[in-house]
């Protein structure tokens, strides 16, 4: 029996008058890759951003329902958003390293959360870069600008940056959409490795990618969760007609 890391109950999201997510119920298993698929504009990125409360940054956003992580609702008033986001790391569509050195990028989150000791910083930066399969490529240029790296390296750096603060969950928002095939392959290999230690939720519009890397898959359309289950089952025997049409490329 797999343990459920994130349990979403009756989640609704509005941007102003716009009802973006409609009554989502889903349970995301621990230490596995869950892919969220769906046509553009179906709300999959917005869903992801509900899991670390990034939608809080949008003035018009309004959320109802519950998101339980390890049984605790992250929308409780008592929850410290800063600590929540430390536990739930996020990597974005386009690589967005800060205009700082490689080292400072990875150390950024650590410093924010109060790590000041130089030795400890070094250790954890190295550890995060190794975990992100990037160490060998950047160990000689730790203090060069992160913007000098290639797109794929930048994206793995962003993952390292997220890993450095030792999260439990990693949210990936179409992380390969700006990358070439080779970089994408490296990234997928990395995700494969990371799921041993982390719970991973990845949003993707790439069906093959979802099939390749995910253990579970969710299909969203027009703000509703149409289907959720083991990836293999969803791809071989979808229960819903709309899932089937999407997977066979009839819209999207």
């Amino acid at each position: 029996m797999v343990r459920e890391k994130i349990v979403v109950k009756d989640l609704n999201l509005w941007f102003g008058e716009n009802h973006v997510l409609k009554g989502i119920n889903i349970s995301i298993p621990e230490k596995a890759v869950t892919a969220v698929m769906g046509p553009s504009g179906c709300g999959k990125s917005s869903f992801l951003r509900c899991l670390n409360r990034m939608n809080d940054l949008i003035d018009t956003a309004r959320v109802t329902g519950k998101v339980l992580i390890d049984g605790r609702n992250i929308y409780d008033d008592a929850v410290d958003v800063s600590l929540l986001r430390r536990r739930v790391g996020m990597v974005f569509q386009r690589p967005n390293p800060f205009p700082k050195s490689v080292f400072d990028n990875v150390a950024y989150g650590l410093r924010i959360h109060g790590v000041r000791n130089k030795g400890e910083l070094r250790e954890r930066v190295e550890e995060a870069l190794k975990d992100a399969n990037l160490w060998d490529e950047v160990k000689d240029r730790l203090f060069g600008s992160a913007l000098e790296l290639s797109g794929g390296q930048q994206q793995r750096l962003c993952i390292a940056r997220a890993l450095a603060v030792r999260p439990e969950i990693i949210l990936l928002d179409e992380p390969a959409s700006a990358l070439d095939p080779i970089s994408t392959a490296k990234l997928e290999e990395l995700i494969e490795k990371l799921k041993e230690d982390y719970t991973i939720v990845i949003v993707t519009h790439n069906i093959q990618q979802a099939a390749r890397i995910s253990d579970y898959a969710a299909f969203l359309m027009l703000g509703e969760l149409i289907e959720f289950g083991r990836t293999q089952e969803i791809f071989t025997a979808p229960k819903d007609k709309r899932t089937e049409s999407y997977l066979t490329g009839r819209f999207g």
């Binding site: 990034m54 003035d59 800063s82 950024y108 924010i112």
Partner: protein
């Protein structure tokens, strides 16, 4: 016929640019040629002598240096913090609109009115007297809008993705501003500060009654001393002297020093902005 009209039109437009450039050019040439004759190390490093008809302009250079640095020292922190509020914290309500109108209006106030304000408030009300401090504060108020605008522009240029990445790591707003937004906006803010120095160094009317004096035998020993300043020195030499044949050449030299200073400062600002724009990969 249409072609001819277009030809004439283009010539007129081109002429208007040429006139402006020519004017700037002749101003620089006239001042450079005449000013260069008196320019020497002694001119820069000596005190004036013989009732301002001989000697150098050292105290005026020092005075201008102190006044403009003082002004930026006062306006930079306030302006940067204010701009951060406007760009990162304020939601764009009524208050922000009022503040923006205030900044715009402040930047349109005639410089001589700043001088009167400084006279009434800093010199008289606060009792700072005619002094470096009063002059710096007056100039600081004058360049505040310059700093705010430059900072706002710089902050606006920082991509949203940087902020998101920082928030996603659990950073608070202030941590994000301090750790990501300000470093990325630094070249723009620096440009603003430099432009502020240039502006403050060249202003005369605001220091006329708040800081400047025609002649001192000493450099200012404290912020409460009055100072000589380059722009005021030019004005005084041209209007208050009794021996124009000796004073006009000194005025030329002073004008050249001031012009070089201000142009250099602006040039540096332009270069920083240009290089920052080119180096920027985001």
């Amino acid at each position: 016929m249409r072609r001819f009209k277009q030809f004439v039109g283009f010539v007129v437009l081109k002429t208007s640019v040429v006139v402006g450039v020519l004017f700037l050019f002749s101003l620089i040439v006239v001042i450079a040629l005449n000013g260069a004759r008196v320019l020497s190390p002694g001119f820069l490093l000596e005190f004036p002598r013989e009732g301002m008809t001989e000697g150098g302009i050292f105290p005026a250079i020092v005075g201008t240096f102190l006044l403009s640095l003082g002004a930026v020292g006062f306006a930079l922190p306030l302006g940067v913090l204010g701009a951060i509020y406007l760009r990162e914290y304020a939601g764009g309500g009524r208050l922000v609109r009022i503040i923006r109108t205030g900044i715009n209006t402040l930047s349109g106030v005639p410089s001589v009115v700043f001088g009167l304000f400084g006279l009434a408030v800093f010199v008289k009300l606060f009792g700072f007297g005619v002094s470096v401090l009063s002059g710096s504060l007056t100039l600081g108020v004058l360049i505040l809008p310059v700093i705010i605008r430059a900072t706002e522009e710089a902050i606006e240029g920082v991509p949203r993705e940087f902020r998101e990445a920082s928030y996603a790591l659990g950073a608070t707003k202030w941590q994000t501003v301090k750790g990501v937004v300000l470093p990325a906006a630094l070249p723009g803010i620096l440009t603003g500060a430099i432009l502020g120095v240039g502006r403050a160094a060249g202003e005369t009317a605001p220091i006329l009654f708040t800081a400047a004096t025609f002649y001192t035998r000493h450099l200012p020993g404290s912020p409460f001393d009055e100072v000589m300043a380059l722009p005021y020195h030019i004005y005084a030499l041209m209007t208050e002297g009794t021996e124009p044949e000796h004073q006009v050449p000194i005025a030329y030299g002073t004008a050249l020093v001031l012009l070089l200073l201000v142009l250099a400062v602006n040039f540096i600002a332009i270069v920083i902005r240009y290089r920052a724009r080119r180096a920027r990969k985001w």
